[in-house]
């Protein structure tokens, strides 16, 4: 389902566009969006063919139509005692709860790393320890500590989100221009004023980038976090559907997860364009 992701206009694609179809090519190039659309159509066609002619058992690969029907059923009737909206809502609540925690903890931590030697010395090893750990590795420990309720799910997602938020904030702080800081100091700004009026706004574009990466990291941790003792949520929905071999719901759930991830990416980019236009202009 990464296909739908590729139809997003990303920086890399724009770059590829100028690199290979730039002024040197005489013919007007086929728009990238068309190629991507054609890929999606081709995959859907192959998928339909395979399931219509019984090449693959519908237990393994239900037809696109069946998945569409499953989606409709999910939206109206629901699955395991909750409608699709309720599953999505439960997952979003966890994701944004975790994001709030990650920002509240991560931004001050990033500021500490970026502005003080002491802060860097204390926090760097912790972040470097946490960063490469797969969330599934610490999930059992978090459950021992926080129980099987909402708190442990939010904690696991927040832990996955923390490193990108912290590291991006620290990078943003360190990239603050010396002239910007010196100008404020020459106008008589105190250390706190420099932090608030110069360093924080300078770091904002980087913090937003970190938030975007964190959303991705958190979303991919969601299914793991919802494996244990959840009664709602997209990860839980897929998991229970798989246990009953309701493959069409599994695939529908995956499609929804991918679609929500796309929406995150799009809205994060819009937010960047709106909040930090000086950093996103090309």
């Amino acid at each position: 389902m990464s296909l739908s992701l590729e139809s997003l206009p990303s920086k890399e694609q724009e770059l590829a566009d100028t690199d290979f179809d730039g002024p040197s090519s005489r013919r007007s190039p086929v728009p990238l969006a068309w190629i991507s659309a054609a890929t999606i159509v081709a995959v859907l066609a192959l998928w339909s063919l395979a399931s219509n002619y019984g090449l693959v058992s519908s237990l393994f690969l239900p037809s696109p139509a069946a998945v569409y029907q499953a989606l409709k059923g999910l939206a109206v009737v629901g699955f395991v005692d909750a409608t699709l909206a309720q599953h999505v809502g439960a997952s979003l609540l966890r994701i944004f709860g975790a994001l709030a925690v990650a920002i509240l903890v991560g931004v001050p931590a990033g500021l500490a790393i970026g502005t003080s030697r002491l802060g860097k010395g204390i926090l760097d090893p912790i972040v470097e320890f946490l960063r490469p750990l797969p969330p599934l590795a610490y999930l059992p420990l978090v459950i021992i500590w926080l129980g099987i309720g909402e708190a442990s799910k939010i904690a696991v997602i927040a832990l996955a989100m923390l490193p990108p938020v912290i590291l991006s904030t620290a990078t943003g702080v360190r990239s603050t221009s010396t002239d910007h800081i010196n100008a404020a100091r020459a106008f008589g700004a105190s250390r706190l004023q420099v932090l608030r009026h110069v360093i924080l706004p300078s770091a904002l574009p980087s913090v937003l980038t970190g938030t975007r990466i964190a959303l991705g990291a958190g979303w991919s941790t969601l299914v793991a976090a919802e494996l244990v003792a959840a009664t709602r949520g997209l990860g839980f929905m897929i998991q229970s559907a798989a246990q009953f071999l309701v493959t069409d719901v599994v695939i529908a759930g995956i499609v929804v997860i991918a679609a929500v991830a796309c929406l995150f990416e799009l809205s994060a980019r819009l937010l960047e364009r709106w909040l930090v236009p000086w950093a996103t202009r090309t």
């Binding site: 002239d179 010196n182 404020a184 020459a186 106008f187 000086w278």
Partner: protein, 263 residues
């Protein structure tokens, strides 16, 4: 009348092999708030270090920086700094940038923006006020940056090659602008440059800095900046015989310094 003085200031940088390189050697320089002092020297003469010490960004290795006889140890609102790159804040509009020094003093938003607008009007930048900084041209940005120093009402303007990044045509217009701002501010100015023409057009006094280590080798007084403020257009000044005579003299002074190195 305020005086900004550097008393027997030296600066040494530590090098990798635990020795230290002298950057500035015993600089004595006093600037009154009625003056426009231009420090001219080639790269490596330590002129930016000299300005950074005067601004309080860099502590001298020995010697003192004094304002009206009082020793100062860090940057402060009494000495505004203009950088080669405008150092405007891109997250603020032009008028918000100009209001920034007032914001630091806790002046309410409505009042500080009104005052910033007056400052921009006064220097002919009213059309830039509500634009985003990154929508402005390089020359316009630098003019807003210079206007911003007026809001902090400093006693001294420290200008680190403020026109260095601009093209030649913009540069000549900016020189008149700088003189205008200097006069409005009522502050003393210390400007760093490596352009002989610029030094002659702007300065009331020119300091020649020689490299290795940076030291003052000569100083000359010039009348042209004040002539311009009195009404003589800059091109007329640049074409006058008095200007050419001082130009030759200053060039000779800088060449003498070169021969000093060769010998």
């Amino acid at each position: 009348m305020s005086v900004l003085s550097l008393n027997n200031v030296t600066l040494r940088y530590a090098t990798a092999d635990h020795r230290s390189t002298p950057v500035l050697a015993s600089i004595d320089l006093a600037i009154e708030s009625s003056e426009f002092v231009v420090v001219i020297g080639r790269s490596g003469s330590g002129k930016t270090s000299l300005l950074n010490i005067a601004a309080g960004f860099v502590a001298p290795s020995s010697g003192r920086v004094c304002l009206d006889g009082q020793s100062v140890t860090g940057p402060g609102a009494d000495r505004a700094v203009v950088f080669q790159d405008d150092a405007l804040y891109p997250w603020q509009s032009a008028v918000e940038n100009v209001a920034f020094p007032l914001r630091l003093r806790g002046i309410p938003r409505r009042e500080r923006l009104a005052r910033a607008r007056d400052i921009l009007d006064g220097v002919g930048l009213q059309e830039a006020a509500d634009r985003r900084v990154w929508e402005l041209s390089g020359g316009m940005r630098q003019r807003v940056g210079i206007a911003r120093t007026l809001a902090s009402d400093p006693r001294f303007l420290l200008l680190d090659e403020p026109l260095g990044a601009l093209d030649a045509l913009t540069r000549s217009r900016m020189q008149g602008f700088l003189l205008d701002v200097w006069q409005r501010s009522g502050a003393g100015a210390l400007l760093i440059t490596h352009s002989i023409d610029e030094a002659l057009l702007l300065a009331t006094r020119i300091i020649v800095l020689a490299p290795n280590p940076g030291r003052i080798t000569s100083e000359i007084a010039t009348p042209f900046g004040r002539d311009h403020l009195a009404g003589t257009p800059l091109p007329e000044i640049g074409g006058s015989s008095a200007f050419r005579r001082l130009h030759d003299e200053l060039t000779a002074l800088i060449h003498a310094e070169d021969e000093g190195i060769a010998a």
